[in-house]
Symmetry: C2
Subunit: 431 residues, 2 copies
């Protein structure tokens, strides 16, 4: 086996086949520009961590190390610290999930839980069914494991069950192995949509009928603006659902702690896969989160986040109404971080991005949320991080950019060369 | 695709082919027993974190969060925090490695770095060359990616270059793709052996000649008992070596922070793979380690560890001389955590383990450090965690067990049924 690469990378022909798809999207360089303070970034899904009480979190860490340093600083269990697993079983009852600490696996953020489930279930070309659009970070995992991703059409309640059943039948007809239905039923990233209870039951029935695992990714449900937390799919079935959660949106992403609630056999595989991937999650951070959950009014803090994000959502919706031209539509999220925008016919949101960044506003183009180049006319706007006045200013700038594109289109027929989107947009700055 | 599993795990026939090898070793249940306080465990490679100043570490975390909470608690860079990457470029000069922060990737412990390198390089059945014996956690990764592992014979300086060259030629002859030489040149886990400079150069030449990547895993080198830190292989070649390091042995494993120094093209792939696996490492922990490295006399702390581990190594060596029967041999490590024991002919260290645990002493059987059932007569003793008196007591107990086995052997011919070792022994409690 010769190393026959080029001067830029002598190893280029030596990599595993899965590494061939590991390429950075060209738009990532734009996000680097977008992080400059003069740019209003509606791109990244960064929680507003300034709203946390930093002193209390700092004291929590310092106390945990002083009182329990020999455990906090040591290697821990591959499955995660049992005290935190117990607290997670209490926490998930907020979405009506009943489970046991034995069936909880703690991971370095729920991104890692997605990675581990796919590692355990998917051979190359196994089929994963996802929403249209779907979470960019999950698509990155499916890509890395060379899965075939099928985007199932949706409606105002998200994933359409009729289209899902048809897609499964189609995949089976083609001789493929359908393995996973990956869904974010509540305040979806990037669409902002939520499945109603009926829809959840229909999807579960289809999964059970076809023996396909549901991976229910649920990082946002505690951020329901009216305080009504939807019932998880996992609440109605413990055998066919792996349920993923995270502290990234309720406490802080800098902790890197998420979890999977899994049926017994799958849980066992996930622990072995996690030990192989990183031995164990950080005892220190797990103990600190456990201490914080036990001793701080953390649900009050979540309420603060909820109210803050609601105010920002309203700032986004109101200013879109004011500044976006006729023909532009958007979703109205009832919680979470995102609204999904559809531009008028003929638009290319990827081609428009450099002009938007030039006008000092950034977003994530819709194609990043598809594995198959759909989403050209779409973009995702995040309202979680900028203050309301900044959101209004950003939307005003973006409205100007869209109107200029319309003028261009009316003069020249198209708004610019249709950009072919290639490479992985999954990155911490676009989650 | 039907879910045709059994009642224990209905998903058993649905997993990816790589998951079929994800099975827990039966000896893992013994380690659970071995963690009881009355058992002297010479099994796990847990650093003696009690020797750290917990107050100072606690204050470091609390200060970082108070002063820089908006960064510490937020998502960070997939490659890792640039300030810490700069500090790592300084740190690695202790092993004569010259690099740039751009070529450092920070991971959740160096276990994850092994996982990412293999993810980027290895298709199923690609060949990885390793020492005889090799690190159980790395073998777990190679297993998870379905690599073919070839154990290369060694001598008192570790990996034998003649045997390495022969093994490569043999693999090529068989039409296989040799991808990685995985080595721990300094104070190897589990053998305790160290390659001298000549040996390192020979191995590097062979790797270059055959265009095979060296993965140089170097977690222990700062723990050189006489303070003479060996020169890394990476110090002599920046193009053919990925160099892995960790804070787990110099600060604390509870941090879960390691790193890879990699050639440019490989580094780019590693970052994309890491973002897919976990988005980013914890900003909080990275900033705290950076603060600790900058503001604390951390090399003094490493010296404390070194002296402490030297005293424990001596306790181990002296008591083995006193208590182990003739015909038992062991390595004399010049740093790190481990000595590798060879029992008299006919012994089975796996079969002996339950009797040892019954006698209140634990070790890791040698077969765990081989992918091919070698190591039956071997076991690894770790001297890092128990106090010297406990080490002496543990070795005394183990000597008794070995002598009883000899009596059994002399009476009945064998020491018990030869245990077939199957399943993955890689776990936080045996690293």
């Amino acid at each position: 086996m010769a190393k026959e690469g080029n001067r830029l990378d002598p190893w280029v022909n030596t990599y595993a086949s899965r590494a061939k798809v590991m390429t950075a999207s060209e738009i990532r360089s734009l996000f680097a520009v977008a992080s400059r303070p003069e740019v209003v970034s509606l791109a990244g899904g960064m929680p507003f961590v300034s709203a946390l009480n930093h002193d209390i979190i700092g004291e929590t860490f310092s106390r945990v190390i002083k009182e329990n340093g020999n455990v906090a600083l040591q290697y821990g269990s591959g499955q995660g610290e049992v005290g935190l697993r117990e607290l997670i079983t209490e926490l998930v009852t907020l979405t009506k999930v009943q489970t046991h600490p034995d069936d909880v696996v703690i991971t370095a953020g729920s991104q890692m839980a997605i990675d581990l489930v796919v590692r355990v279930f998917c051979n190359p070309h196994d089929v994963v069914f996802v929403e249209s659009p779907s979470y960019v970070g999950a698509l990155g995992v499916f890509r890395a494991y060379e899965c075939d991703v099928v985007h199932v059409a949706g409606d105002e309640f998200g994933l359409n069950p009729v289209a899902l059943a048809e897609a499964i039948t189609q995949a089976v007809k083609l001789g493929k192995a359908p393995k996973i239905i990956y869904t974010i039923p509540t305040f979806q990233n990037p669409s902002g949509l939520t499945q109603d209870d009926k829809r959840r039951k229909q999807i579960l029935e289809i999964a059970k009928k076809h023996n396909i695992l549901i991976v229910e990714d649920d990082p946002y449900s505690l951020l329901a603006f009216d305080g009504t937390i939807p019932r998880a799919i996992r609440a109605d079935d413990a055998e066919n659902v792996v349920y993923l959660g995270s502290f990234s949106k309720t406490i802080a992403p800098g902790m890197r702690v998420g979890w999977a609630v899994a049926p017994h056999g799958i849980r066992e595989k996930l622990v072995l896969a996690s030990e192989s991937a990183m031995l164990c999650p950080s005892n220190l951070v797990q103990l600190a989160i456990g201490d914080y959950l036990k001793n701080q009014p953390w649900l009050e803090q979540v309420k603060v986040f909820r109210e803050l994000y609601l105010e920002r959502r309203d700032a986004l919706l109101d200013s879109m109404k004011l500044h976006f031209p006729v023909g532009t539509t958007w979703t109205v999220p009832l919680g979470g971080f995102y609204s999904w925008i559809t531009l008028p016919e003929g638009f290319d949101a990827t081609a428009m991005l450099p002009r938007a960044v030039n006008a000092l506003v950034a977003y994530v183009p819709g194609t990043g949320f598809y594995a198959d180049n759909q989403g050209t006319r779409n973009l995702r706007l995040s309202f979680c991080y900028p203050e309301p006045e900044r959101i209004q200013e950003g939307v005003r700038r973006l409205g100007d950019v869209i109107r200029q594109e319309i003028e261009l289109r009316d003069t020249f027929g198209v708004t610019g060369e249709l950009a072919t989107q290639s490479g992985d947009m999954s990155a911490p700055d676009v989650v």
